[in-house]
Symmetry: D2
Subunit: 116 residues, 4 copies
């Protein structure tokens, strides 16, 4: 079951069953989002390309865990702020598609640097 609105519902149900909404102001929730994203990044520190490749093979579940945590906060924050993340994503993709036309940026690092 990989439908965003269904997954969001499961997150909200989990949270509300514990009566934790009272703690979830946007600032502290965003801190969680950052903390989890940083934990994803930490997996790759001090490793070169070869070491990362090897590491990913043997630690896939640990990395997946941190990506799932980040995912959790993206969906929960979107819900709490009244944001339809699928719709926001559609808008974003249309925007960067127009901003980075294939003919101009294909394989270009310099252009790529500007995508954030």
């Amino acid at each position: 079951m990989s439908d965003i609105s269904k997954i969001t519902k499961r997150i909200v149900d989990f949270r509300d069953a514990r009566d934790w909404k009272q703690f979830h102001n946007p600032k502290d929730s965003a801190l969680s989002l950052v903390l989890e994203a940083v934990e994803v990044m930490e997996h790759f520190q001090w490793k070169n390309a070869e070491e990362m490749k090897e590491y990913v093979k043997t630690n896939k579940d640990e990395i997946a865990d941190e990506l799932a945590d980040t995912f959790y906060w993206v969906l929960l924050m979107s819900h709490d702020l009244g944001i339809d993340i699928a719709e926001a994503f559609d808008r974003k993709l249309a925007e960067i598609d127009a901003k980075y036309p294939v003919t101009k940026v294909k394989g270009k690092h310099s252009k790529y640097n500007k995508l954030k």
Copy 2:
């Protein structure tokens, strides 16, 4: 259309049409994930509860933009690392559901602090 695998496919198609995969090693991709999460957080800095409430009303699209960017990198990283994010999320939710039983943590800040 809010199915994760379909959204992931659109992200990968967007990236591959531009031949940008060559730049996407896990470390630099994770940096993007962190940068975008930090941009979400930045929206709420220096604001109290009342100011955040007001700000969310008038800047919903700007916040949604940064959440969509974070979402983009969660899905793209998951794809590149061979991680099924929906499955990783299922596992994670089962894990925290067992770790934080409703009867023990309901409405409790102290317990909540330990959830990361």
Copy 3:
């Protein structure tokens, strides 16, 4: 002994005695800087003003530890990149002093928001 160049020398000596310079490229060092800054921030998550006040009283050493780690990486990175941090700081302070004249920004939140 609180002279920056002397503290920097102690950090570099500590590092070089262990022959760790080989691992310290700017990207991975910057990751450490971010990781330590995030650990400072984590101390304050989910706490309101009153709770932070109390927490600072009872956990000063733990917070000081993370600030010291961040400080370590600021000085080590500056050294490795050939940056005189005291000089860079002088330049920065002159710049923000000119950018935010006291007469215009005194006590103003709106102006303040723009200081980064």
Copy 4:
């Protein structure tokens, strides 16, 4: 002039002349610390060793700017929390000196990974 207490005094004077202390709770100040550290890191994204070397040569002042901003927040937060950062640093260096004896960790990546 590179004495930490003198630099701290200049930061506090700068801040207090603008009456900005009222906005500086630990959580929002820590957000600034993180934001600035992330801006240091951003300079090195998508660059390999050779590209970083070249980049550092031509963009030293820009990197120095972000390190100075991070430095500013380390010192201001330490001051506001009543932390003597030079003393905290002494304690930290003694701690990691004991934790990572030269004879055991010299040139070792595996051990190094554990230093945070």
